[in-house]
């Protein structure tokens, strides 16, 4: 997914503009790409339309002779798409052009399969990291939640400052690094959460699935499936994301010695 995101951005070179809406009002040939912005199409595009962290709006008169992809956004509007219209909405909140039928099944399988692959590889290759990310889930869980919300707020603020202070390629690079960092935290956190959940459900599992790797993967599968339940799934997945990011931050960030001393003094 990240490779596809990078591909979309790079394919829009030499001048994808960060945070700037793209408006296609005249017939255009080639790939149209936006980063952290909306694409509005009201004419013919002879190619693909890719929005990274943004929506695609297909106004009346729009005709896309290729695929329309929204990574981390939604596809809206009544325009014509001759290829596929595919949304990768991060929290499952779909737009009016959300894929249905086999495409919807395909996206669901991609999501579940991707998480299984990521979770299995991480647990296999970096078990220490995952166990560290799992520990804060039980150690003062409310602080993990607060750290997750604060972490997201700080990330958003830093991204806003970055976008305000630098445009062009440096801005794009920084934005990509920021997004990649947040995604890495999210992945480690979600797998850590699954590790903890797997440990809780281990007693009821068949003996062959109680080992660290299969039980973590099974819990991850459950978590991903719960995230796809209509109505409540998106909210539960969002909560799991926030908790996971909080757990990963708590596991990876080394506290400042002064803050530690203050915390100990207050505890006394």
């Amino acid at each position: 997914m990240i490779a596809l995101l990078l591909a979309g951005v790079l394919a829009g070179a030499p001048a994808p503009r960060l945070g700037a809406d793209v408006l296609v009002e005249v017939p255009t040939a080639g790939t149209v790409v936006s980063l952290a912005a909306r694409v509005r199409v009201s004419s013919v595009v002879d190619g693909d339309v890719v929005a990274v962290a943004g929506d695609v709006e297909l106004l009346p008169g729009a005709e896309v002779r290729g695929d329309v992809i929204a990574l981390g956004g939604a596809i809206e509007g009544t325009g014509v798409v001759s290829g596929r219209a595919v949304e990768f909405a991060p929290l499952g909140w779909a737009g009016s052009r959300a894929p249905s039928g086999s495409a919807a099944w395909g996206l669901a399988l991609l999501r579940v399969g991707g998480w299984l692959v990521l979770g299995s590889l991480l647990t296999l290759l970096a078990p220490g990291l995952i166990r560290r990310a799992a520990a804060p889930v039980v150690d003062r869980p409310w602080i993990t939640g607060v750290v997750g919300v604060l972490g997201l707020a700080v990330w958003l603020a830093v991204m806003v400052l970055l976008l305000a202070a630098s445009g062009g390629p440096i801005g794009i690079l920084m934005a990509l690094l920021g997004v990649a960092g947040l995604l890495a935290l999210k992945v480690v956190g979600i797998v850590g959460l699954s590790w903890w959940l797997g440990r809780r459900i281990a007693p009821v599992l068949p003996l062959s699935l109680r080992a660290e790797l299969p039980r973590t993967a099974l819990a991850l599968l459950l978590l991903a499936l719960v995230g796809m339940v209509p109505l409540v799934g998106a909210s539960l997945w969002a909560a799991a994301n926030v908790a996971g990011i909080g757990a990963a931050v708590r596991a990876l960030v080394t506290p400042h010695p002064v803050a530690l001393a203050l915390s100990r003094a207050l505890a006394r």
Binding site: L107, G113, T123, A135, S208
Partner: protein, 172 residues
Amino acid sequence: MIDATCRLVRQTLESESVLSPDASAHLDACPACRAHAVLLEAFARVPSRAPDEAAVRRIIAALPPAPWQRRRLATWLPLAAGVGLVGTGFALLGGVPAPGAVAELPGVAGGFLSWLGSSVLDAVAAARASSDAVRVTLAAEGLWLVLWAAVTALGGGWALRSLVRPVTGGRG
């Protein structure tokens, strides 16, 4: 080379039982068993101490997966299932979406890198005269946005560092 009598004597020593006359006679005659007895006496003199639970959990959490786990089918099943699901998902979608964008990747990657390099020089030059982007944001009444972002980044960062503390992991 130890024989059955050696094993019996050592088990008796380790279980701290009273040695029979035969076992005592063997101990006098066997230098290997005598060395074993001396070793056990040395271990007994080591003061026992309750383990530091946090340290034990840290050590256990850092252990790699047990080798027997890698030999079991159940370990690799989730990975294989995930790859299968991803493949099926792409098949149902009709292949990788936006193939045009993906196909352009090798060609534009080199161009992007050179564009990045030349733009770094531009950015350095622009930074000397302060950032135009910040001035534009301020001119567009974006002062409060920048202030909010700065306060959130600094205050939130400080709060985060205050909240986090080392946590010890477990392994089950």
